[in-house]
Structure formats: structure tokens, C-alpha cells
């Protein structure tokens, strides 16, 4: 009811528009963007109907990276799932691992040691910085093209992101897919000298964020992003948008603060919000979040408590993790929003596998905003809006 009223009043674009009722000056042009397109952030396809260069209707088609992860997880044991979900949101693998392990821990009633909780928080915040850096770089490419100023921004952001990758490599031995979280704790302890290195990297990045802001602080960037792709709070909530996109629409909601997990209730942090709901607001929120995460990471590395990384009864073999029955929904805040894991226990391998394993991906919800937002915008705005939503196709399609 509410949805239909908003479409009819013209507040939101109409995803269900019947094109035969639309009268254009000339014929509508059907433009197919993707699945292989320089700025669809992976394999994603949007079919646009254009009246001149103005979009009348947009129909997104995800699923070009549908790898059947949920089906695969039904065949694997809980411990084996961790490295699989790394590949879902491949820009923030740490948080994917945490999400699945938190769900299993909740179902089994396992308490995670305090040091592991702090380390998880630290890794999550570092990963958030890395992810937002990657987003900022690719957003630059979307606006400025592969042969232009955007690429320069991209290179700067990747330069700093590499440093965080180095930190993770130092901790886990792997640059990309870490598999460092396990049921009940963490696998890899902090190596000697790592804390110092983290602090140096954080200082370096913090200094350079000011540079990116300076690079983007000019009227062209503002004209390209301000009042473009406005998502009002009501639409954002109804679509299930979370994370920076929701906070850019003026909704003060962050799972880290509002439903604390890990060690978030023990540390002090601010949640930046903006009220524009447009691409510029999303940019503002992400940059502010990056700064805040760096501050938090510094506090976390200083206050990292001593103690064991796994509980009293560490998990040695995969079949030790068995859950007879029960369902759980556990969510955490990734750089893209609420990443939830819905597990129905009691599956194959004598209850060592889930019966149904569902990942609630923030990116899928973000992308589903496109048909509501795009109508009325220009072709050039598609890349800006899609970029500002920060979708990761591995997570959208799973």
C-alpha cells in the first residue's frame, strides 16, 4: 500500500512501469549495460530504457556470479564454511568469516575469549578502512574514467590499501582470503612488532585521507554527486538498505553501536551520518567512517588485552562442531551494511553441516535500490549512483 502510494505520487521511480503507457517524443532506446562493462563493479547488468539520455525505466539483472554458495555450505561442515564465505564479499573477507563464526558460536553457546573479541574488532575496523579505500578509488574511476583524474585517485587509494593488505599478510600469511577466524576464537596471534606496524600504517593513511578529500574538493565532483541518486529514509528502510547508504539518508542506525557485538560495547566511537541521501552524502559518510575507524583501530591496538585466543575447549576437528537443531540469525556491520547469517542447524554429515544456510547480503539490498532511484536520471548518473552504493557482486549473487 505504502509502496504503491509513493510510486503514484512520483516520490520514487516506478520499477513496474508499463512502457506501452509511456509516451515519448521519439522511440525509446533500450540500452544494455553489462554484464561486462567498465563500471558495473563486476558482472552486473542493467537494462535501461532511454528517452533521449533520460532514463525512463531500469531493470537490473544480477546473478552473473551466482556460485551456489548456499547450496555448497549445506554440504560442508561449519568449520569448512569459513574459507568459502571469504569469497562472498571479497573486499571485506574478514567480516564474512566473523559473521558465519558468530552464528555458529551463538547456536553452540560458545563464549569467545576477550582477546579474540578485541582482535576481531581490530581486524574488522582495519578491513573497513581497506574496503572504503577501494570504494573511493573505484568511485573515482566511475566519475573520471579509466583515462582521467579518477584513475589518479584510484592509484592513491590502492597504494594505501596495499599497506593494510601487508598487515593482514603479516598476521595470517595470506593477502586476500585469510581464514583466520574459527569457531570460538581466532587462529593467528599477533606477531612481534605488528602493533607498531599497524600504528605506522594508520598514521600514514590518516594523513593521506586529507589528500583524497582535497583531490575531490572541486565543483565538478560536487556537481556530479550532489542531488544525484537521492534515496529518502523511507525508501532506504523499506528496501532494507543498511550501513553507510542508510546513514547517508539520515537514519542514525549502526549495529556496532545499537546491537553491540565483539568489543564494540567496550570502546568509544561516533557514528557519522549525513542527511542528503545523495551520492555526495554517501561519500561524506564513508570518508568520515574511515577516519573514525582509524581512530578506533588505534585504541584497539593499544588496549588489546592479554589472554588466550581460543576458548578452553578449542575446536580441533570439523566434526566437533555439531548442532542438532535450532535456527539463528546473527548480523554484524560490514562496510556495506548489515551482513546477516541465517542458519538452520541439523543437516548432513551427522549434524556437522547446516540444513539451510542463508547469507543476508547488504549489497543485494543496495543494488535493489536501482530501479527505484534511476528513473529520471541521465545515463552518466548510472555509474555515479551504482558506484556510490558500493555493491560487491560476489555478495550480491553469492
Amino acid at each position: 500500500m505504502a509502496v504503491k502510494a509513493n510510486i503514484d505520487s512520483g516520490r520514487w521511480g516506478d520499477p513496474y512501469l508499463d512502457l506501452s503507457t509511456y509516451t515519448a517524443d521519439a522511440d525509446l532506446m533500450e540500452l544494455n549495460m553489462g554484464p561486462q562493462h567498465p563500471s558495473t563493479h563486476g558482472v552486473f547488468r542493467v537494462v535501461l530504457w532511454l528517452d533521449g539520455e533520460t532514463i525512463v525505466k531500469a531493470v537490473p539483472h544480477p546473478g552473473y556470479l551466482h556460485r551456489g554458495v548456499e547450496k555448497l555450505c549445506e554440504k560442508l561442515t561449519y568449520v569448512q564454511i569459513t574459507p568459502i564465505v571469504d569469497k562472498n564479499d571479497y573486499v571485506a573477507p574478514m567480516l564474512n568469516e566473523q559473521a558465519v563464526n558468530m552464528a555458529v558460536e551463538q547456536l553452540m553457546g560458545i563464549e569467545v575469549p576477550r582477546r579474540a573479541r578485541w582482535l576481531r574488532t581490530l581486524l574488522a575496523e582495519l578491513q573497513r578502512v581497506a574496503s572504503h579505500l577501494l570504494w573511493l578509488g573505484t568511485f573515482g574511476i566511475d566519475l573520471g574514467g579509466a583515462l582521467g583524474g579518477g584513475t589518479s585517485l584510484f592509484m592513491y587509494c590502492f597504494r594505501e590499501r596495499e599497506l593494510i593488505m601487508d598487515l593482514f599478510e603479516g598476521l595470517t600469511g595470506s593477502r586476500f582470503h585469510y581464514n583466520t577466524h574459527t569457531v570460538g576464537g581466532n587462529r593467528h596471534d599477533v606477531p612481534a612488532g605488528w602493533a607498531e606496524q599497524v600504528k605506522q600504517v594508520l598514521t600514514f593513511i590518516e594523513r593521506h585521507i586529507d589528500e583524497y578529500v582535497a583531490v575531490l574538493d572541486h565543483p565538478i565532483f560536487e556537481q556530479r554527486t550532489m542531488n544525484v541518486g537521492v534515496i529518502d529514509a523511507e525508501l532506504a528502510l523499506g528496501l532494507g538498505l543498511t550501513g553507510p547508504v542508510l546513514r547517508a539518508s539520515g537514519v542514525d542506525h549502526d549495529l556496532r553501536r545499537d546491537a553491540p557485538y565483539h568489543a564494540y560495547d567496550e570502546i568509544d566511537f561516533k557514528v557519522p551520518i549525513a542527511h542528503g541521501g545523495d551520492c555526495y552524502a554517501r561519500y561524506e559518510v564513508r570518508v568520515a567512517e574511515m577516519r573514525e575507524s582509524i581512530r578506533m583501530a588505534r585504541d584497539l591496538i593499544d588496549g588489546l588485552p592479554e589472554g588466550p585466543l581460543v576458548g578452553a575447549r578449542p575446536i580441533k576437528t570439523p566434526v566437533q562442531v555439531k548442532i542438532k537443531s535450532g535456527q539463528a540469525y546473527v548480523a554484524l556491520e560490514t562496510p556495506r551494511g548489515e551482513l546477516g547469517t541465517y542458519v538452520i542447524a541439523g543437516g548432513d554429515n551427522r549434524n556437522a553441516s547446516p540444513y539451510r544456510f542463508k547469507i543476508r547480503p547488504p549489497s543485494l539490498h543496495s543494488v535493489s535500490a536501482l530501479p527505484w532511484v534511476l528513473p529520471g536520471h541521465q545515463v552518466s548518473d548510472v555509474v555515479a549512483i551504482l558506484g556510490s552504493l558500493d555493491p560487491i557482486m560476489g555478495e550480491v549473487d553469492r
Partner: protein, 163 residues
């Protein structure tokens, strides 16, 4: 309001309005009759402030005879979650159970996000959502046969000429 207070209020609300037993409150939320699915979501959204659409999870349960019990016929279970925004954020979750062939009423009129989530569950699990404005496959190609997350779908099913 903390999450626990919200949970207590939710339980009271659901007992009072929808006749759901508050004790014991199962994991994944109580099972609600299909007819009350939309009414419950609308009430939660409008009255209790559960405005953020979180998830829609369908699961397939084939015929099963538990030890010493009666046959549980093949059915789908659709779990839905809505979240309250702000401090003490809390997820209101409930489930509906439908036999194969019957549909679940859609929430797409209340929550714009339900559109895609329900399409995805239709695509992968095969649950039909009644009155959905645009019920097509979301992940798999239009020409695909079968619903992969059903328990009778083999994971290694081939698809010539590609695999």
C-alpha cells in the same frame, strides 16, 4: 529501549493480537498462520516501529517421518525478519509454513525490498509468492529448470553445453 525490552513487548503484542504462544519462544521466531503474514508485518511496521526490512529465508522440507511420529508432509518454510532502527535495535522474526504448491502472500506492497528478496527465494527454493508484482527468476537464467536449493536438487546438476 533495550533489545530485551523490545523482545518482551513484541512477545506480548504477538500473543495479544495474533494468538501466538509467548512461551516457549522458539529460535527463528514463532510459526504464524499464512493468512496473518501480511497483517503481522503491517502491524509491526506501523505500530511497533520495525521499519527496516531485513531478510526473507525460505527453506524446503521434504516428506519426513520422525522416529515414533507421524509423517510430516513436504512443505516450505518462509522466515521473515524486520528490524527496529536505532538504539537497542532488535529483529522481529517469524515463520510461515506452506505446503508445496500453495503460495505465500507477498510483502512487496509494504516493503520495497521484499520484491527482490522474494524473487530470489522463488528462484532458488521455489516458493511462490502470491500477488507479487514481478515474480521472475533473479539469480539464474530465465531458461533454467528446477530450483537448486530444494533438497531434491543434486548440487552437481549439469547444464549442457556449458557444464
Amino acid at each position: 529501549m533495550t533489545a530485551d525490552e523490545r523482545q518482551a513487548r513484541l512477545a506480548a503484542f504477538m500473543t495479544e493480537r495474533f494468538g501466538v504462544e509467548a512461551d516457549p519462544w522458539p529460535d527463528g521466531g514463532p510459526i504464524v498462520p499464512v493468512e496473518q503474514h501480511v497483517a503481522l508485518a503491517a502491524a509491526l511496521q506501523a505500530e511497533l516501529g520495525y521499519t527496516l526490512y531485513v531478510y526473507c529465508v525460505a527453506s524446503h522440507w521434504p516428506d519426513e517421518t520422525p522416529k515414533g511420529g507421524d509423517l510430516i508432509p513436504e512443505h516450505y518454510e518462509v522466515a521473515t525478519g524486520l528490524r527496529s532502527v536505532g538504539a537497542g535495535s532488535h529483529v522481529a522474526m517469524w515463520r510461515v509454513s506452506v505446503p508445496v504448491g500453495a503460495g505465500v502472500p507477498t510483502l512487496a506492497d509494504l516493503f520495497a525490498g521484499a520484491d527482490w528478496q522474494e524473487r530470489e527465494q522463488y528462484d532458488l527454493v521455489g516458493v511462490v509468492f502470491d500477488d507479487h508484482p514481478d515474480l521472475r527468476r533473479l539469480m539464474l537464467p530465465e531458461e533454467w529448470v528446477g530450483h537448486p536449493l530444494r533438497k531434491d536438487y543434486a548440487i552437481e546438476t549439469g547444464h549442457l553445453p556449458w557444464r
